[in-house]
């Protein structure tokens, strides 16, 4: 868990733009974090603020963190389901231990930036009804790199 301590230190001292973390909110064992992400400037989400929930397993960083948007404010985006689950390949298949909380936040920010049309994924209603609580249990199908 030394690595998580280092990440927390880096994230509080030198966060990526729009990302804030309050160490007071994070418990002592660092296995669950709440990170705030501001809607990127000159994007459809400008002015909004979202909260992300990170859960780290014992195997982190070899195992990817579980990342979901927290209610009540879940961005309306073609790759973000209304229960907060995110369809993002680096959170499962393309995870690498060289990635970090900061780089995940950056990816999500870029995903929001490049969105042209605020809408839910086409299968949102079905997915939210049938999915596992843990988004890592979903077999995601990554097919669209444009957003």
């Amino acid at each position: 868990m030394r690595r998580l301590q280092k990440e927390l230190l880096n994230l509080t001292t030198d966060p990526p733009p729009g990302v804030t973390v309050d160490p007071e909110e994070i418990g002592d064992n660092l296995s669950e974090w709440t990170v705030s992400v501001a809607g990127p400037a000159s994007s459809l989400y400008e002015g909004e603020t979202f909260r992300l929930n990170f859960r780290f397993s014992q195997k982190y960083p070899f195992d990817s963190p579980e990342v979901v948007f927290m209610r009540p404010n879940i961005p309306v985006h073609p790759h973000i389901y209304s229960n907060g689950h995110i369809c993002l390949s680096i959170l499962t298949d393309d995870w690498s231990p060289a990635l970090s909380v900061a780089s995940v936040c950056l990816s999500i920010t870029s995903m929001l930036s490049s969105c042209k049309d605020k809408k839910r994924p086409p299968d949102d209603a079905f997915y939210v009804k049938t999915c596992n609580k843990n988004p890592k249990k979903t077999r995601w199908w990554y097919h669209d790199d444009t957003v």
Binding site: R3, N10, D14, A98
Partner: protein
């Protein structure tokens, strides 16, 4: 604040690092600490060997560099040996690092005559009947070429003449064999 903490950690884990050690250039890309039992990938990324080994075991069927996703494997990483690293026994670390690889420099005198093979191609083309002869010629040729450097500044004209004569001789033999095979 971060700088102060970093130097403190480097001092605690790595011993005598200079001030440049705290800038992160020698941190493992996985654990973000000063790299221990350091190995570097062909793509130039630094890791602790235990960290990288764990990752390679995690994704056995798809071993890629955590930083740049280049292909990576146990055999394709280079261990780094600092001057002071011999003081600690890396074998106490599990898993052990892969050994360094040394390739002996190639010796000119003992090079295999594969380069000369092009010259003897002609002899090889006679087909099955002439094959052993062609092979014989190529061995002779090889010997001649190899002797050339020892002839000093004047590459032996004689060898050249010999070569030509042998060439004609074997061409004749080859044609003879082919005709024989055709008639038989």
């Amino acid at each position: 604040m971060a700088g102060v903490e970093n130097t403190g950690e480097a001092g605690a884990t790595g011993g005598q690092e200079g001030p440049e050690a705290s800038d992160g250039a020698y941190e493992c890309n996985i654990c973000l600490d000063q790299a221990r039992d350091a190995v570097v990938s062909m793509c130039g990324h630094l890791f602790c060997w235990p960290c990288l080994h764990t990752w390679l075991e995690t994704r056995r069927n798809n071993q890629v560099c955590p930083v740049c996703k280049a292909a990576i494997s146990r055999d394709k990483v280079i261990p780094l040996y600092g001057r002071n690293s011999s003081n600690k026994d890396p074998r106490n670390q599990l898993p052990p690092r892969p050994p360094g690889q040394r390739t002996e420099p190639e010796n000119q005198g003992t090079t295999f005559g594969g380069v000369n093979f092009g010259d003897t191609n002609f002899h090889m083309s006679f087909g099955i009947g002439a094959f052993p002869l062609g092979f014989f010629a190529s061995t002779l040729n090889f010997g001649g070429e190899r002797l050339n450097p020892h002839a000093g500044l004047q590459p032996g004209q004689q060898f050249h003449a010999d070569d030509q004569m042998l060439s004609k001789l074997f061409l004749g033999l080859g044609i003879f064999c082919v005709i024989w095979i055709l008639l038989a």
